[in-house]
Amino acid sequence: MDKADFVWVSVSTALVLLMVVPGLALFYGGLVRAKNVLSVLAQVMSVFCLAIILWFVYGYSLAFTEGGTLIGGFSRVLFSGMADLSTMNFELAGNIPELAFAAFQATFAGITCALIVGGFAERARFGAVLLFTALWLTFAYLPIAHMVWAPGGWLFERGALDFAGGTVVHINAGVAGLVGAYYVGKRLGYGQEAMPPHNLPLTMVGASLLWMGWFGFNAGSALGANETAALAFFNTLLATAAAVLAWTVVEWLDKGKPSLLGGVSGAVAGLVGITPAAGLVGPGGALIIGAVTGAACVWGVNGLKRLLRADDALDVFGIHGVGGIVGAMLTGLFNAQALGGPGLASMSEVPHQLWIQLEGILITVVWCGIVSWLAYLIADKLCGLRVNIDAERQGLDVHEHGETAYQR
């Protein structure tokens, strides 16, 4: 075991936790109306926790052990065989205990499930959300994580590039959020009454914690304290800065005013965009990826959102879906050595790589789209996915959780 590698991966695991609670929870929480803020916080936290438990029980095994091209096997169910505690003999994954690797990956499964919550925010029932999460993790996240990241996985063997989870985490969550928005339906009064964010400073704090934690997400994905981690670390800083300014400038030119919400949305978009590329492109490529993703996601939450006609309440698809797709494609481009990357030796390999990247995107969109719809359907039939009209008017905080965020 390499001690430095172990420390970095474990610190990174804690940083990814920081992204979810409180980062993502506050980011989402500030964006909803005051009567629903607690429901969003509760859903993000509980969904994450459920994913962690399922990861321990069978998730890790199905995602990362050898099996077929689509899904792994059952050899690590309940983390069996990972450590012999009578002798304190731990199996290694690379230079770190496999237990540390499995813990790091657990937080990825957790944050992916938590991201989806934004799509159907402010109208879904808590119990149904948990049931959906269990189904979706099992039948969407695990196969796609296996295909992309596990040796033997179909896209892994094809050579798809996804450094920290642009496809597995962000496109996956984006599609699931969008399907959820369609399935659950628009919020009561959507398009007729104003639904402005109730607390943008909270959203700012959340986005800042996401950015902070994302160093663990991206640089931690180097799985060691090494040069690739240093590259991923700086790229995460640079691309995000570019994306904040890109979103701000595009919004300023297009709508007349540079908003704070635009700036923080740009930060998240840039972080999503650089995720698949973090350790696979040079800083110049990262700068461009950040700027392009930031600008593309402005379209994602405006023009595209109007085209899709779904009430994706917190723009999970507009930011994570669009940002993930743009990032995945640009990773295939800027990975080339001629464009400052550490990968493809010749530009003539780029078109083939772009095709493989596209394959990964398409497979994820189709697979995740179908599985998500079925998972929502099952959760709906068994639990009822949407709250009734009175409950939605009153707010999910009181109706679902029996508490209120702000005393009047």
């Binding site: 104003a194 639904m195 402005p196 709508k255 005013k257 908003s259 949305s265 939450v301 723009d315 507009g318």
Partner: protein, 112 residues
């Protein structure tokens, strides 16, 4: 007696309160309200969603005055709440039948 109901810009409250105090008005009730008159609202943009905010925050002052004080109170209020820009607000005057001071049981002008 008259009841004066004034809608003013929120940041004018201190000036109005001081000016009315200086001419001998001894009490008022202030509440935060929202509304619109000729001053239009504004638009707010949150990502793709644009909202028109029609109702602007204002303060409402309610105070009872004696007939003798009425004209002076209106003039003072107008002067203190005035900025000259659209949205300065309005003053409404209604007849008031009775007033009672709860502590002493005094009636009408003596209760003001």
């Amino acid at each position: 007696m008259k009841l004066i109901t004034a809608i003013i810009k929120p940041f004018k409250l201190d000036e109005v309160r001081e000016a009315l105090g200086a001419i001998g008005i001894q009490g008022m009730t202030v509440s935060e309200v929202k509304g619109f008159g000729r001053q239009k609202g504004h638009t707010e943009l949150y990502r793709g969603a644009e909202y028109t905010v029609d109702f602007l925050p204002k303060l409402r002052i309610d105070m009872a005055v004696s007939e003798a004080m009425l004209e002076q109170a209106i003039e003072t209020l107008c002067a203190a709440a005035h900025t000259g820009k659209i949205g300065d607000g309005k003053i409404f005057i209604t007849p008031l039948e009775q007033a009672v001071r709860i502590r002493t049981g005094e009636y009408d002008d003596a209760a003001l």
